[in-house]
C-alpha cells in the first residue's frame, strides 16, 4: 500500500511536468492551429538555461526558474517572429514542417554549444525527503507538484480575467471578429508563444532537476508525451492538457512500477491510440460542427 501511494505521488509529479509542458503545446495550437513540434526543444533549452544559471552563475532555485522561463519566452518570441509569422497565411503543412526544422535546429545548436555529453544538473532543490508516516516524499517531487499547480491556476486566471487573456481566447475562436473588436492579433499570438515557451522551460527546469541530467535530445520524449497529453485531453483545451498530463504521468509511472519499464512508453502511446479511436477529439473535446 505504501509503495503504491509512493508511486501515485511520483506519477503526480511526472504528470504535473507533462501537464505544464502540454499547456504550452495546446495554447499555441489553440491560437494558430500549429502543432509546435519545437516545443520539446524549448523545454530542453530551458533545462540548459537552468544549468548555466545554476552552475556558472550560481543562482538559487527560484532565480534559476524565473530567469530560464524569461529567456525561453524571448526565445519563443524570436522563433515565432522569424519562422512562423511569415507563414501565417501559408498552408498549415508549411508551418508544421518549419516547426520540425526549428526542432532539429535547436537540437543541433545545443549539440554545438553544449557538446553531446550530458551535463549534471546540481541539486538546487535540497534532496532530503520528507516523511509522512511510512511515505518518503522527495522535496523535488513536492516542489514540482506545488509549482505546477500554482502555474496552472495563474494561467487559468490570466486567461479568464485579464484583457490579454481574453484577447487570446477571442483570437483562438475567431481572428477576424477579434480584429473588429480592436484586438492586435499579431501581438496576441506573440504573447501566446512567449507564455507557452516559458511553460515549456518550466517543465525543462524541473525535469532536469528531477532526473539530474541535461542533454541535447532530452526534449524529444517529454515533448512527445506532453503532445500526447494535449491530444489525449483534447488539443486546444487548457483543462484537457492538464488532465492529459496527469493521466500520462500516472500511466507511465504505474506501468513502469508494476508492468515493465521497457513497455511503459508503448503503453502510453497505446492508450493514446485507443482514446483517439473511441473519441477522436480527446477526453474533454466536444465533437464540434464544422463552421460553414
Amino acid at each position: 500500500m505504501t509503495l503504491f501511494l509512493q508511486q501515485l505521488i511520483n506519477g503526480l509529479s511526472v504528470g504535473s511536468i507533462y501537464a505544464v509542458i502540454a499547456l504550452g503545446y495546446t495554447m499555441v495550437y489553440g491560437i494558430i492551429k500549429l502543432i509546435n513540434f519545437a516545443h520539446g526543444e524549448i523545454m530542453m533549452m530551458g533545462a540548459y538555461f537552468a544549468f548555466v544559471t545554476a552552475v556558472t552563475i550560481g543562482m538559487p532555485f527560484y532565480m534559476v526558474l524565473i530567469v530560464s522561463m524569461l529567456i525561453a519566452a524571448i526565445l519563443g518570441l524570436s522563433i515565432e517572429y522569424v519562422a512562423y509569422k511569415p507563414l501565417r497565411n501559408a498552408p498549415r503543412i508549411s508551418a508544421l514542417i518549419t516547426a520540425i526544422g526549428i526542432s532539429l535546429f535547436l537540437q543541433n545548436l545545443a549539440l554545438v554549444v553544449f557538446k553531446p555529453e550530458p551535463k549534471v544538473m546540481p541539486a538546487i532543490i535540497p534532496k532530503q525527503p520528507i516523511l509522512i508516516g511510512n511515505l518518503q516524499i522527495g522535496t523535488v517531487t513536492i516542489v514540482t507538484i506545488l509549482l505546477s499547480v500554482i502555474f496552472m491556476i495563474l494561467l487559468d486566471q490570466f486567461i479568464k480575467k485579464t484583457k490579454p487573456g481574453k484577447a487570446m481566447r477571442a483570437v483562438s475562436q475567431d481572428k477576424e471578429a477579434s480584429i473588429l473588436m480592436g484586438i492586435n492579433v499579431n501581438r496576441t499570438i506573440s504573447l501566446t508563444f512567449a507564455i507557452g515557451s516559458a511553460l515549456g522551460a518550466f517543465g525543462g527546469v524541473l525535469y532536469s532537476i528531477a532526473y539530474t541530467q541535461v542533454y541535447p535530445t532530452m526534449g524529444i520524449m517529454p515533448g512527445l508525451k506532453a503532445f500526447v497529453a494535449a491530444v489525449l485531453g483534447g488539443i486546444g483545451l487548457l483543462p484537457g492538457a492538464m488532465l492529459g498530463g496527469f493521466v500520462i504521468g500516472m500511466i507511465e509511472t504505474i506501468s513502469k512500477a508494476y508492468i515493465s519499464s521497457q513497455w511503459s512508453d508503448a503503453i502510453v502511446f497505446g492508450i493514446l491510440i485507443i482514446v483517439l479511436i473511441v473519441k477522436p477529439t480527446g477526453i474533454l473535446g466536444k465533437n464540434e460542427r464544422e463552421k460553414v
Partner: protein
C-alpha cells in the same frame, strides 16, 4: 462621415469591386442592396480594413484611413457587425459584450452601456451567462449588434442582419436598427432583403457584380420599375 472613393478590390484574379464610390452622411441609414455575390460583404470588409483595396481610398470623418491598421479602426468610432454574426461562440453572452468594449477603459461607463444593451435586448440579459454558441440565430444577431454598440461607435456597418431569421425576428431587428439610428448612430446597412432595408433607410445604392448601378432616396428606389422588378419581387 464616410466616403468611399473609386475602390477596386480583388480576390486573386477575381475583380470583386470595380471603381466603386459612395458616401454616408452623419445621422443617416444608408443601405447597399444587391444579390448574392454582388460584393456587399467585400465592400464592408474593405471599409473596416480586413481587406485592402488595390486602388481607391476610404475616408472616415475626412480622414484617409488607408494607413490605419485594421484593429485600430474601432478606435475611430466605427463598428462592424459581420456577416454570419461571428459571435465568440465559446464565450458567454456577457463576455461577448465585454469584448465589444475591449478598447475602452472607462469601466463605469462600460457597465452603464452594458445595462443599456440589456434594457434594449432583455433576452440577452436572461441569457447573460449562457455560452453564445448555444443561442438561437436571432439571439446571436442581437448579441452581435449589442457587441458592436458596446464600443460606442459613431458609425455601424451591418452585414445582412436579417439573414436566416424568421419574419417576426426580422421586424424586431429592423426596429432595433431604427432605434439605434434615432439615438444618434449612423448606419450603413447591407441587405439582400431590399424591401425591408429600403423601408427603414434614408438613401440606398443598388449593387450589381461589384458596381453601383443605381442610387437615390429610398422613395425613389422603392418606386423605380427596375428596382421593383429585380429586388422587390414585383
Amino acid at each position: 462621415m464616410l466616403r468611399v472613393e473609386d475602390i477596386n478590390v480583388f480576390y486573386g484574379k477575381i475583380h470583386a469591386i470595380k471603381d466603386l464610390s459612395f458616401d454616408v452622411k452623419q445621422g443617416e441609414i444608408v443601405t447597399l442592396i444587391g444579390a448574392n455575390g454582388a460584393g456587399k460583404t467585400t465592400i464592408l470588409k474593405t471599409i473596416s480594413k480586413i481587406l485592402t483595396p488595390v486602388s481607391g481610398l476610404v475616408k472616415f470623418n475626412n480622414e484617409n484611413i488607408s494607413k490605419i491598421p485594421a484593429h485600430q479602426i474601432i478606435d475611430m468610432g466605427m463598428a462592424h457587425v459581420p456577416e454570419g454574426r461571428r459571435v465568440f461562440s465559446k464565450m458567454t453572452v456577457l463576455e461577448n459584450l465585454q469584448m465589444g468594449a475591449y478598447i475602452r477603459k472607462d469601466e463605469r461607463e462600460i457597465r452603464e452601456d452594458l445595462e443599456m444593451v440589456f434594457t434594449r435586448f432583455p433576452r440577452l440579459k436572461e441569457r447573460s451567462k449562457q455560452v453564445s454558441g448555444t443561442l438561437s440565430g436571432g439571439e446571436q444577431q442581437m448579441l452581435a449588434i449589442g457587441r458592436a454598440i458596446m464600443s460606442r461607435p459613431k458609425l455601424i456597418l451591418m452585414d445582412e442582419p436579417s439573414m436566416g431569421l424568421a419574419p417576426i425576428l426580422v421586424d424586431e431587428i429592423f426596429d432595433i436598427i431604427t432605434s439605434i439610428n434615432k439615438a444618434g448612430t449612423t448606419i450603413l446597412l447591407v441587405e439582400q432583403n431590399a424591401n425591408r432595408a429600403l423601408q427603414i433607410a434614408h438613401r440606398g445604392y443598388v449593387l450589381e457584380t461589384g458596381k453601383i448601378i443605381m442610387q437615390g432616396t429610398t422613395k425613389e428606389l422603392l418606386n423605380d420599375e427596375k428596382v421593383k422588378k429585380a429586388y422587390l419581387g414585383g
